[in-house]
């Protein structure tokens, strides 16, 4: 049996006392590339934010390799939704990627040559080195998403959480991103992705969690990605043709 990378126990999260996640139990094994799917308002982003301590749950607990998130921050990288930041912020692509190194630096210490080198390498990996000095508002949506991915790569984490990394990106970028995610999995990392496009689930991922306020199902894509779970999650009679 594989090690459990992320364990969620009885997690309940509420906004203004209205629960958006009810009693979630979830075990994510090490080394999977997992999609979290569910309709709008299912609490997919909320689940990630609660695991990362950005939102405070009203009940339940989360552990990363057996310890609390606060103790394991260094093992975790996070890619927020692209729309959650102001891209007019006065900064460059390189500078945004450098932000990924801030966590290992801790308070007060400033990034130096070592961090810059790591950031440049990450930029190269996502094919954005040529744009390092570009102001971030001058980048296309796909390029912005690549910058966010580079920022996560630079953290050199064991577990990656990504909130809709394919939103608003062109087809080339989508393929580039999924290839990098598959490489991460090959290197033994665990990657958890909030995902919208059900058609691509079998092609991109090997693990899936169905979520709609409550957890519907979680497990290997080949075992549980079926019409039954889709219907339970999306409420309507859902049919997806699974390409082999």
């Amino acid at each position: 049996m594989k090690k459990i990378a992320v364990k969620v126990d009885d997690l309940t999260v509420a906004y203004n006392y209205k629960p958006v996640l009810w009693d979630i139990d979830l075990e994510i094994p090490e080394g999977v590339l997992m999609a979290i799917v569910g309709p709008n308002g299912a609490g997919k982003s909320t689940l990630i934010k609660a695991i990362l301590g950005i939102l405070k749950p009203i009940a339940g607990s989360v552990s990363i390799y057996g310890k609390s998130y606060e103790k394991q921050r260094q093992l975790v990288a996070y890619v927020p939704q692209k729309g959650s930041v102001d891209w007019d912020f006065p900064t460059t692509a390189l500078d945004v990627v450098k932000m990924g190194t801030y966590g290992s630096l801790g308070w007060i210490k400033r990034p130096g040559q070592k961090e810059k080198k790591a950031a440049l390498e990450a930029l190269e990996k996502v094919g954005m080195l040529a744009f390092k000095n570009r102001q971030i508002s001058q980048l296309s949506g796909g390029q912005q998403q690549r910058i966010f991915l580079a920022r996560a790569l630079v953290q050199n984490a064991s577990i990656y959480f990504m909130d809709e990394p394919f939103q608003g990106v062109d087809a080339t970028t989508e393929i580039a991103i999924i290839n990098i995610l598959k490489e991460l999995r090959k290197a033994g990392k665990t990657v958890i992705v909030v995902h919208h496009d059900l058609q691509t689930v079998p092609e991109y991922f090997d693990w899936v969690t169905f979520l709609n306020v409550k957890k519907i199902a979680t497990g290997p894509v080949k075992d549980i990605f079926n019409d039954d779970n889709l219907t339970k999650t999306y409420g309507i009679n859902y049919k997806v043709s699974i390409q082999e």
């Binding site: 203004n16 934010k49 990362l52 301590g53 950005i54 606060e70 921050r73 975790v76 996070y78 927020p80 959650s84 930041v85 102001d86 912020f89 006065p90 900064t91 460059t92 945004v96 932000m99 801030y102 966590g103 630096l105 801790g106 308070w107 007060i108 400033r110 990034p111 040529a130 102001q135 508002s137 001058q138 296309s140 920022r151 062109d170 080339t172």
Partner: protein
């Protein structure tokens, strides 16, 4: 220049710098209005502090008043969190309430308190040099110079120490939180600095100018740079310029110093707003016009590419066919010729090799939206810069 004049300009400049630093972050966090709220609602804090200390420059008064500033922020957030009103409404509810409490307190005690509403709103920079700080009987300069200087030193130290943290929590709150840089601590830290700065500057320049000094230089700097450090430097520069130039405007016009500084700040922003090289109104208008011409150029080139027929490529026919007015046709023809994309022989227009390649590449880009291939075209054509 008399020493009093120098002192006034020095105080005004230090106040400007102390305001520009937190102001830059307030502007980037889209919280400009919170500085307005703080500057007004610290009034009751100042009045109570003044009752206790009888000294507008006492550190106790500054702390008390700054505390009222923090209370304002907390109240605004609390009201907003209930979800019943939006943030701007919450601000509009909280600060007049606190400010009016201050106004009533001043009016009730007008006889024994040397503090009036005019001075609170507009400041009395001209009188600042009269209130001296004496250390063992030696005059070491105006009290407000020391107060503002101390606040500025604290602000600069905090800025340098926590620059990275401020940047990340301003740009991406979620990432900051996940990396362990508590956005709440940084938020209240910034609010505390803003409040203390506001109180320190209040006596010198008044409630209204404090807001202008925080927001206008940062807003102008924002339009000129794409680098946070440069934005801070520019905001500081604009602040100092407005403080000193504003003082001399007041001197020449024999008018209020704080009023003149605010006016200069407004003019500085206005000129940047109009003339900033890339984000200014005129630059944007120029770019849009240029873009329109380039779209026309592309349409024209595409037409040439699609039609081999000589009749279709006759200069006169183009006028009628693409349905442009003469002036526009001429602009487009000139642009195409200047770029060696067409040549005209016996009034028949044809694409050159360069024009042909350009057209294919541009169409390819418009269809696929893959912008790595057109990087070199971005320098020459606005159309491809997005």
């Amino acid at each position: 220049m008399s020493s009093a004049q120098i002192e006034i300009q020095l105080i005004a400049s230090l106040v400007a710098v102390a305001c520009a630093i937190p102001g830059t972050f307030l502007v980037l966090r889209k919280m400009a209005m919170i500085s307005d709220a703080i500057s007004h609602s610290i009034l009751p804090g100042i009045v109570i502090g003044f009752f206790i200390t009888h000294d507008l420059n006492s550190p106790l008064l500054i702390l008390l008043a700054a505390l009222t500033g923090i209370i304002t922020v907390v109240l605004v957030e609390y009201i907003q969190k209930t979800g019943l009103v939006k943030e701007d409404t919450a601000i509009g509810l909280v600060f007049p309430a606190l400010f009016s409490i201050g106004v009533i307190m001043i009016a009730k005690n007008a006889n024994d308190v040397h503090l009036d509403v005019d001075a609170v709103l507009l400041g009395e920079l001209a009188f600042a040099p009269f209130d001296r700080l004496l250390i063992r009987g030696t005059d070491v300069g105006p009290k407000s110079l020391w107060v503002v200087g101390t606040i500025l030193m604290i602000t600069i130290t905090l800025l340098i120490t926590f620059f990275k943290e401020l940047k990340i929590s301003t740009f991406d709150k979620g990432l900051a939180a996940s990396l362990g840089f508590s956005p709440a601590i940084l938020h209240y830290g910034l609010m505390s600095v803003s409040s203390v700065t506001t109180v320190g500057a209040f006596d010198a320049v008044g409630a209204i100018l404090v807001v202008a000094l925080m927001i206008a230089p940062a807003a102008a700097a924002y339009l000129l740079t794409t680098d946070l450090k440069k934005m801070l430097a520019l905001a500081i520069g604009f602040g100092i310029f407005s403080a000193i130039f504003g003082y001399w405007v007041a001197h020449w016009l024999d008018a209020s110093i704080s009023g003149s500084i605010t006016t200069v700040l407004g003019l500085v922003f206005l000129s940047v707003y109009l003339f900033a090289p890339t984000k200014g109104v005129i630059a944007v208008m120029y770019r849009e016009r240029q873009q329109r011409t380039e779209v026309s150029l592309l349409t024209f080139l595409l037409h040439l590419k699609n039609h081999d027929d000589l009749k279709e490529r006759h200069v006169n026919h183009l006028n009628e066919h693409i349905n442009w007015q003469k002036v526009r046709s001429k602009t487009v023809l000139d642009l195409a010729q200047k770029n060696n994309m067409i040549h005209i022989e016996n009034n028949i227009v044809s694409l050159t090799k360069k024009g042909d390649e350009f057209t294919s590449k541009a169409i390819d880009y418009i269809i696929t939206n893959e912008d790595t291939q057109i990087e070199d075209m971005k320098d020459d054509f606005f159309l491809f810069r997005g």
